[in-house]
C-alpha cells in the first residue's frame, strides 16, 4: 500500500491553562488517502477543531503539539518543518475552509483582493494576473457576475456567497487537501446543501482530498467514504461510512445516530445522550464515555479501552468488542441518574 496523503500518528495537543493542562487532543491517529473524503464527527469540545489546527500547525500558546506526535503529509513530517516551510504548505498544499464566513474574511478588503493575495503569495503572480485569477475562481465557485463581485467587500455578500468566496480562496492553489471545519454550520439549511455539493463537485474534479469536520452525521452520510468519530480528545470509532451507519459499535456513535432525525422515523422524541463532554483538563480514568454510557460496567471504570479491531478496518474504543454479551443489559447511565436526581 502506498503511503496515504495525510497521516496523523499519536497526535497530542495540550493547552497549558491556569486551571490545568487541557488534553484537547490526546493520542489521535488516522489517515486520509489521496482523493478521499473523510469525515470527523463529534460533539463540541471533543477535539475536532484542535486536530485540524494542529495539522496546519496553527496552535498558539498556551497550546502545544507534544513530543512523540507525528503528522506526515506528502511524505514530510510537518512537525519537523521550519515556520517558513510550513507557510509554503498552508494555503498551497493544505487549505482550510472555516465555519464562520461572516468573520473568516477581512472586512477591509474586497473579496477579489483577498483571493488574489493567495495567488500572489504562493504563485508569485503579478497584481494583474492575480486579479484575473480571482475572477476566474469566483466564476468557478458559481458566483454570478464575478467581475462585479470581485470588487465588493465581504459585508456586501450573503452568507452563502461569502462561503463560496472562502472556498475559492482555499482552492486557488489547487491544494492536495482541504480541511473543512464545519463549513455549513453557520449557513441556512437551503444553502448548506448547495455549498456541500459545490465542495464535493470541485474537489472531485480537481482530485482534492477533504477532511470534513462536522457534528452532523447527515452531512457525513452524503459526502464521506470513511468516518472518524471523536470523543474527549480521542478517536473512539472509525469505519467506512456504510459500515458505520449499518453497524455502529461504540455506544457514543450509537447515541449520535439515535440523535439524528430520520424521515419516516417513528420515535416521537429524538434520543439524546445524557450529560456533557467532561472538561479536557480532567478526563476520567478508564473509559471517558463511561458516565454517559448505558452499558458501562466495572471494567470501564478501571481499564482505559484501546482501539479494538472489529474487522474490515472498523475499529472501536469500547470493551464491548471483547465482551459483546454485555450489550444485552442496558441500564440508566450515571450522568442521567445524576441529572434526574439534581432535577
Amino acid at each position: 500500500m502506498t503511503s496515504p496523503l495525510l497521516e496523523l500518528d499519536n497526535l497530542h495537543t495540550f493547552f497549558y491553562t491556569d486551571t490545568g493542562v487541557a488534553r484537547a487532543v490526546d493520542g489521535v491517529s488516522f489517515h486520509v488517502g489521496a482523493g478521499e473524503t473523510v469525515g470527523v464527527v463529534g460533539e463540541s469540545g471533543c477535539g475536532k477543531s484542535v486536530t485540524a489546527l494542529s495539522i496546519l500547525r496553527l496552535i498558539r500558546a498556551p497550546g502545544r503539539v507534544e513530543q512523540g506526535s507525528a503528522i506526515r503529509f506528502e511524505g514530510k513530517d510537518l512537525l519537523g518543518l521550519s515556520e517558513r516551510e510550513m507557510q509554503r504548505i498552508r494555503g498551497n498544499r493544505i487549505a482550510m475552509v472555516f465555519q464562520e464566513p461572516m468573520t473568516a474574511l477581512n472586512p477591509v478588503f474586497t473579496v477579489g483582493d483577498q483571493i488574489a493575495e493567495v495567488a500572489r503569495i504562493h504563485a508569485n503572480m503579478s497584481k494583474k494576473d492575480a486579479a484575473v485569477k480571482a475572477v476566474e475562481m469566483l466564476r468557478l465557485v458559481g458566483i454570478p457576475a464575478p467581475e462585479q463581485r470581485a470588487t465588493e467587500y465581504p459585508h456586501q455578500l450573503s452568507g452563502g456567497m461569502r462561503q463560496r468566496v472562502v472556498i475559492a480562496m482555499a482552492l486557488v492553489m489547487n491544494p492536495a487537501l482541504v480541511i473543512a471545519d464545519e463549513p455549513t454550520t453557520a449557513l441556512d439549511v437551503t444553502i448548506q446543501a448547495q455549498i456541500l455539493e459545490l465542495l464535493a463537485d470541485l474537489t472531485k474534479r480537481l482530485g482534492t482530498s477533504i477532511l470534513l469536520i462536522t457534528h452532523d452525521l447527515g452531512v457525513v452520510a452524503e459526502n464521506c467514504s470513511r468516518v472518524i468519530v471523536m470523543y474527549a480528545g480521542e478517536v473512539v470509532e472509525e469505519a467506512a461510512t456504510v459500515d458505520l451507519f449499518a453497524r455502529a459499535h461504540h455506544p457514543y456513535t450509537e447515541g449520535l445516530l439515535g440523535a439524528m432525525p430520520r424521515v419516516g422515523g417513528t420515535a416521537e422524541r429524538l434520543a439524546t445522550i445524557p450529560g456533557t463532554v467532561p472538561p479536557p483538563t480532567n478526563w476520567p480514568d478508564g473509559c471517558r464515555f463511561r458516565e454517559r454510557c448505558m452499558y458501562a460496567w466495572e471494567r470501564c471504570a478501571t481499564e482505559h479501552p484501546p482501539l479494538y479491531q472489529i474487522g474490515g478496518g472498523h475499529t472501536s474504543r469500547c470493551h464491548l468488542a471483547v465482551e459483546p454479551e454485555r450489550r444485552a443489559h442496558p441500564h440508566t447511565p450515571i450522568a442521567a441518574a445524576i441529572g434526574a436526581s439534581a432535577a
Partner: protein
C-alpha cells in the same frame, strides 16, 4: 430591482470617493487648510510685526478695536499678528509631534499585540515604565540638562511623551483583531507574519489610532503651551498659541482677549482635526458604509 443597487457603484478602492461625499471631511480639510495657509503667509497677513512693542506707555493692554481687532497685550504687541505668526510654530510642532507619536506608537502597539508573549511583555513594561514618569518631572530634567532647546528637539520631546497612549490603544485593538477568524484564516493560507501584520492587522486598528491622533493634537498644543511657560520650548518674545495664552493667563479676568482668541484658534484647529479624523475613520472602514447606504443595500446583500 429596477435601478442598480448603490453598493454596486462603490468601486474597489473607494476610500477617496467616500471621503469626497463626506461633509466632515470637507469642513475639516478646508478649515485646517485655511489655518495652514494663514501660517504660511503670515508675513503678508499680519498687520504688525508680532514682536514689536508698538507703544509701551499708551498702547498696552488695549481691548479689541478697529486698529487692533484682537487687542494688544501688556507689552503693547498686536495680538492678531502674534496669533498669525504663532500658528507657524504651534502647527509645525503639534502636527509633526503627533505624526511621529502616531507612527511610532502604532508600530510598537501592533507588534506587541500581534506577536504577544515575551516581546509584548517587554514592550508594554517599557511603556508602563516610561509613562509612569510624570511629564512635568521629565520636563524639569530636560530643563536642568539643557538651557535652550530647538524646535526639532521640542517636537521630539512632545512626541516622546505622546506615543504611549497611542501604542496602548493600538495594542488593545490588535489583541481584539489578532484572534479574529480572518487572521487565523490568513495564517491558514500561509501568509507570513509581517504580511498579516501589515495587510490584515494594521488597516483594522488604524481607525482608533487616527481618532486618538486628532484628539492628541489639542493636547499637544496645550503641552507646548505648558513648556513655553516653563521656559523651555518656545522662548519669548517668539509667539506660539500656547505662549500667548500663558502670558494672558494671569490677567484672564480683565484682559480676556489675550486668552480668548488663541483659545478659539486652538478650538477651531482641534475641531477641524476631529472632523477630518472622523471622516477618515469612516472612510477606512467599509463596514460603516452599510449603515449609510440604508435599506437598499440590506436587500441586496441577501
Amino acid at each position: 430591482m429596477a435601478s442598480a443597487p448603490p453598493s454596486i457603484r462603490v468601486p474597489a478602492s473607494s476610500v477617496r470617493q467616500r471621503l469626497r461625499s463626506d461633509s466632515r471631511f470637507w469642513i475639516g480639510l478646508s478649515t485646517l487648510g485655511i489655518i495652514i495657509l494663514i501660517a504660511l503667509f503670515a508675513r503678508f497677513l499680519a498687520p504688525y510685526d508680532p514682536n514689536a512693542q508698538l507703544d509701551i506707555s499708551s498702547l498696552h493692554s488695549q481691548a479689541p478695536s478697529l486698529a487692533h481687532p484682537m487687542g494688544t497685550d501688556t507689552f503693547s504687541r498686536d495680538v492678531l499678528s502674534r496669533l498669525i505668526y504663532g500658528a507657524q510654530i504651534s502647527l509645525t510642532i503639534s502636527l509633526a509631534a503627533v505624526a511621529i507619536a502616531m507612527t511610532f506608537g502604532t508600530l510598537v502597539g501592533a507588534v506587541a499585540g500581534y506577536l504577544g508573549g515575551v516581546i509584548d511583555a517587554i514592550l508594554m513594561r517599557l511603556v508602563d515604565a516610561a509613562s509612569s514618569i510624570p511629564t512635568l518631572l521629565l520636563l524639569i530634567v530636560v530643563i536642568a540638562l539643557w538651557d535652550e532647546i530647538g524646535v526639532v528637539f521640542l517636537t521630539l520631546l512632545i512626541a516622546g511623551v505622546a506615543w504611549f497612549t497611542v501604542s496602548r490603544l493600538v495594542r488593545a485593538e490588535t489583541l481584539a483583531v489578532r484572534d479574529a477568524d480572518f487572521i487565523v484564516a490568513a495564517r491558514a493560507l500561509g501568509m507570513p507574519s509581517w504580511r498579516i501584520l501589515a495587510r490584515h492587522v494594521l488597516p483594522n486598528v488604524v481607525g482608533p489610532a487616527i481618532v486618538a491622533a486628532t484628539l492628541a493634537i489639542g493636547n499637544v498644543i496645550l503641552l507646548e503651551a505648558g513648556l513655553s511657560y516653563l521656559g523651555i520650548g518656545v522662548r519669548p518674545p517668539t509667539a506660539s498659541w500656547g505662549s500667548i495664552i500663558q502670558e494672558g493667563a494671569e490677567r484672564v479676568s480683565d484682559l480676556w482677549w489675550l486668552t480668548l482668541f488663541p483659545g478659539l484658534a486652538i478650538l477651531v484647529t482641534v475641531f477641524a482635526c476631529n472632523a477630518l479624523g472622523d471622516a477618515l475613520r469612516d472612510a477606512l472602514d467599509p463596514r460603516q458604509l452599510l449603515a449609510s447606504l440604508g435599506d437598499e443595500t440590506v436587500q441586496h446583500t441577501r
